[in-house]
Amino acid sequence: MIEQLDKARYNLLKWLTIGWGIWFGSYILGDLIHYEVILIDLFSSLVGLTGFVFFIVNLQRYIRLSSKVKYSCLNGALNNEMHLLYKYKSAYIGFKVLLATIVLFFILSLFNQIPAKAVCEITIYCGVLSSLIAGLIYNRD
């Protein structure tokens, strides 16, 4: 039971990462690049939508599983010290990437004008994605 839940949690995290990466990535690209060809625009929207569906479905499943684990006797085993340590480490990596992205944009802004929306989107994207990827790497078998 513990192993099954642990595996399910890892798989959900994996699909959550993929979903977020595709959805938010295509959203940023759509904002930055204005497609002239309608077919490319349609294709990128479709890819973005697929990512969004992946992200939302898996986020919902992840939250449901987390709440189930939280109130069960398996909580201690599944959220043991190693899991918590890896969670903090992933968040720390996400924070460091977030800071690095901000610094990079700050330096770039000295030479070029950058739209504030793009800076916010890319910073959030890099921070969240790096944190999720770090979580996947730490928790891999």
Binding site: D6, G76, A77, L78, N80, E81, M82, H83, N139
Partner: protein, 70 residues
């Protein structure tokens, strides 16, 4: 700390007791992944977990975990 290494006897003790990582994990109350990372030295357990492991194998913590100079 950098020229010291923590080695453990979990794999040996497990073999002596003839139990799998999964069985040990369920006895201790952690996941198999946790036992695996401790065994391979990727993760250093807390004192509580180390004591639990030592108690399970019925040996001293120092016998299960040894700090050696590199």
């Amino acid at each position: 700390m950098e020229n010291q290494e923590l080695i453990n006897q979990i794999k040996v003790q497990r073999a002596m007791k003839n139990i799998t990582q999964e069985e040990l994990a369920s006895h201790i109350g952690v996941t198999r992944k946790t036992i695996n990372t401790i065994e391979t030295g990727k993760f250093v357990p807390s004192t509580i977990l180390a004591i639990k492991l030592a108690r399970f194998f019925d040996i001293k913590v120092e016998e299960l975990f040894t700090l050696i100079e590199k």
